[in-house]
Symmetry: C2
Subunit: 158 residues, 2 copies
């Protein structure tokens, strides 16, 4: 039984495009830092262990792609420097980060648990991602999700 997916082109796949940005070894780790409020080059470098060059490249790429913006700041007694902050596009990566965190926590954590959780600002309870359909049903099991061609789907040329 030939999978239906074989009939469709993937050249405009948005997952592949997203992974051009997110799918480099350190990108999401850098973003984790920014989400955690760490915004400065050296703090990130010390915490993540990413080589300077790579960190500089990643930050530049993320700024260029519109995920981060570079903002000047000045502490008293210091010259002006720059820090990195999330744009709206960057903030919208929260669900991705929380999803990855949830999966990592389940399968890759040390016995004592995850070093990081995320909480709801208003009530303090832990936040998780959920799959939910547009009619409001919760999608409990992974097998209840089925892929299908979207509005931008194109038939394969070959």
């Amino acid at each position: 039984m030939r999978p239906a997916a074989l009939d469709w082109s993937v050249e405009n796949c948005t997952i592949a495009r997203a992974m051009e940005i997110l799918g480099e070894r350190w990108t999401l780790v850098v973003l984790r830092e920014v989400f955690n409020g760490v915004r400065r080059f050296d703090d990130m470098r010390v915490r993540t262990g990413v080589p300077r060059q790579v960190l500089a490249n990643r930050l530049a790429m993320l700024v260029e792609r519109g995920v981060l913006r570079r903002e000047p700041y000045r502490e008293p007694g210091s010259r002006e420097r720059h820090e990195y902050r999330l744009t709206e596009m960057g903030l919208d990566l929260w669900p991705v980060l929380v999803a990855v965190l949830g999966w990592g926590d389940r399968y890759l954590a040390d016995p004592e648990g995850s070093p990081l959780t995320v909480a709801h600002r208003d009530c303090g309870a832990e936040v998780r991602v959920e799959l939910r359909c547009e009619r409001g049903h919760e999608v409990a099991r992974p097998r209840d999700v089925v892929p299908r061609p979207g509005p931008g789907a194109r038939r394969r040329a070959d």
Copy 2:
């Protein structure tokens, strides 16, 4: 104001561990194929354009890490071959994939829309990820999520 995150070690961070698996350029694209029902080496290769060697490496890594399993199958008139299927660990990546898809669709899609959507098996409506806290509140805006140290958090040694 020094970010609180600087006091905590990140050496056991589950996001970093997850990204050791997912954070390679083609991993999630390969998984997209498997979720779409494409399970065979050559189909994946033709659809994704990943070089053979890289695809072979990725598949082997995903099998080794427990995300995929390699299953024998035999079509009539052919010798036995292998296909790749999701383990439970792999199936639990659905939320990650849907989150990445949602973000990519919002910021990186062509004008006509995304080539791929995911639907609820029972009702056919489109499925999205949502952030929701344990008390059941929907977390509407990214800014309503705050990170905090989890049970496995360790103070920094330095």
